[in-house]
């Protein structure tokens, strides 16, 4: 199973490198903060850890992880949207 994950990992890295080779500089910040929000996917791992009933300290770590990851996800997407809303064409 883990070797399949390695396969997925390598392919996804290459895909990521191909996906964004040429980005106009005005999009650097939104791209970075948008990508940062995606890295909040770790929330899925946090949910599993927090919910699998490990009890005690491990669950506390899990809940903390859920909270931090959710800050990353919610804050990241909102802030990116806020920035992109300001980019506009033409005069106005």
């Amino acid at each position: 199973m883990s070797i399949l994950l390695v396969f997925v990992f390598v392919l996804a890295v290459f895909l990521g490198l191909e996906l964004i080779t040429k980005v106009p500089s005005q999009l650097h910040t939104p791209l970075m903060s948008g990508a940062n929000a995606i890295s909040g996917i770790t929330v899925v791992g946090a949910l599993v850890v927090a919910g699998e009933g490990l009890g005690g300290f491990a669950t506390a770590l899990g809940v903390l992880a859920v909270a931090f990851a959710t800050v990353n996800v919610v804050g990241g997407y909102l802030v990116t949207d806020k920035m992109l809303a300001m980019f506009r064409r033409g005069k106005g």
């Binding site: 500089s25 929000a37 899990g62 990851a69 990241g76 997407y77 300001m86 064409r89």
Partner: protein
């Protein structure tokens, strides 16, 4: 894992890929961000709906996290964006680290590969967490933006790295031997603390102007930490999304390094900018010629083509709205106004673009150095606002200069250059700027916002 859940994760992965691709183009960027957010929603719902989870504590974590994230996003000013991004980045890193830690507590004697993934998750996540916090503190000027260096810093870093590697190996070998190694708990604690300390030590010696590179690199780390966590809990959507972010962060890091003509290793380990004195390079000769706002106004009034080159100083002075007003005044009298944005101007990738967008500057007015350099001679007035190293002509003329080879905005070839600056102090790199003493350069000393407001006032009075 149920089949439908795997399918949902595939859908989420596709949405992330599409979203990231769309984020790279101005026309589709905003939609792209929403597509990727939808992917996140799909992944989270699929995880929660799979059942077998105790929701009581999960809800607490979700509500607190969503509340904090939403309030922070709503309150943040555009000028604070670099530190906000750093902070979000750090929270992602710490979350991955905690996932790795909790999984280790659950199965301390997991198989070797899993133990290795735990070690990698904890190290990258921890490094990313404290590194981001230090970056945040530097960017928000809670601590000095100047590089912090001390004797034998590299030795300490190397020793710490060795300690972390050793502790990590201990944890992995313990798993391979199906438990039984002594003091493995201590090794794990050292691993955790070592990673956190490494994050601090890695970022403190890096100066303010190199922050765009550090922020981009930390972004990459937060993705890699999530991917590593995916290996720990055997979850493909974490691996896909995490490695996409890891790769995109690397690309961005590479773009930033290229814009500074430096290697990543040079940024991370060199003493660049740490020596305030004794900087190599030819002596700058001649005297800077100051100009008053009133005289500057008369020159601008006659200009047909104006190029604005903003830098970190514009962000500090919060001058972006005043700059936009000045551009409006110039356009009203028929001048063409463009903004030349150097990729590393400011403290994060694209910093200037965000500020100018906030001030309502249309993005067609923004050009990159390569677009404007060939026709620089046709620019009547170039206004440099709080930028320094990115307009230093030594970068192309003086092989002895530390800046030599860095692509710049070649404003020295414009007919007239106004440099708005507080004082004659050199830029972040500590290198004297030959531009200031050029024949066609005039220094407009003072706070950038006050100077520009004075210029706008002069236009309005006539």
């Amino acid at each position: 894992m149920e089949t439908w859940q795997t399918l949902a994760y595939i859908v989420a992965s596709v949405l992330f890929i599409l979203g990231l691709k769309m984020l790279g183009r101005a026309e589709t960027a905003r939609r792209g961000n929403r597509v990727s957010a939808l992917g996140m929603l799909v992944a989270v719902v699929a995880t929660l709906a799979a059942g077998g989870l105790d929701y009581s504590w999960i809800v607490v974590g979700l509500v607190i996290g969503a509340g904090v994230g939403a309030v922070a996003a709503r309150r943040v000013q555009m000028t604070q964006m670099p530190e906000m991004v750093a902070l979000f980045n750090g929270s992602g890193g710490v979350a991955s680290m905690l996932v790795g830690w909790a999984e280790y507590l659950r199965t301390p004697d997991a198989e070797g590969v899993t133990a290795f993934a735990v070690v990698v998750t904890v190290v990258i996540g921890g490094l990313c967490a404290t590194g981001s916090v230090v970056a945040f503190a530097k960017l928000s000027e809670r601590i000095s933006g100047a590089p912090i260096r001390f004797d034998r810093q590299q030795v300490l870093n190397a020793a710490l790295l060795a300690l972390v590697a050793l502790a990590g190996a201990w944890v992995v070998f313990d798993a391979l031997a199906a438990g039984g190694l002594p003091l493995v708990g201590l090794a794990f604690a050292l691993l955790l603390l070592g990673a956190l300390a490494l994050g601090v030590l890695a970022v403190i010696p890096i100066g303010g102007a190199d922050m765009p590179i550090v922020v981009a690199l930390l972004n990459s780390y937060s993705g890699l930490a999530a991917a590593a966590a995916g290996f720990v809990i055997d979850n493909n959507v974490l691996v896909v999304a995490g490695s996409l972010v890891g790769a995109s962060g690397l690309i961005l890091t590479q773009i930033m390094c290229k814009a500074m003509n430096r290697s990543l290793a040079n940024v991370l380990f060199s003493g660049f900018g740490s020596a305030p004195t004794g900087v190599a390079g030819a002596e700058v000769t001649g005297e800077a010629k100051p100009i008053s706002a009133e005289d500057a106004y008369f020159v601008l009034e006659a200009a047909r083509s104006v190029l604005v080159v903003p830098g970190y100083g514009m962000a500090v002075a919060q001058a972006q709205h005043a700059v936009k007003e000045l551009a409006d005044q110039l356009e009203a009298i028929g001048a063409e106004v463009r903004f030349a944005i150097h990729p590393v101007a400011g403290r994060m990738p694209g910093h200037m673009n965000v500020l100018l967008a906030e001030a309502n500057v249309a993005y067609e007015a923004l050009v990159e150095p390569d677009d404007v350099n060939p026709s620089m001679e046709s620019i009547d007035v170039a206004i440099v606002i709080g930028a320094n190293d990115v307009v230093n002509p030594s970068a192309k003329e003086d092989p002895d200069s530390p800046l030599f080879g860095m692509p710049i905005v070649e404003v020295d070839r414009a007919r007239t250059v106004f440099v708005l600056k507080r004082s004659m102090n050199p830029g972040f790199s500590g290198v004297e700027n030959a531009l200031f003493t050029r024949e066609n350069t005039r220094m407009l000393f003072g706070d950038a916002k006050a100077s520009i407001t004075a210029l706008v006032g002069a236009f309005k009075d006539t």
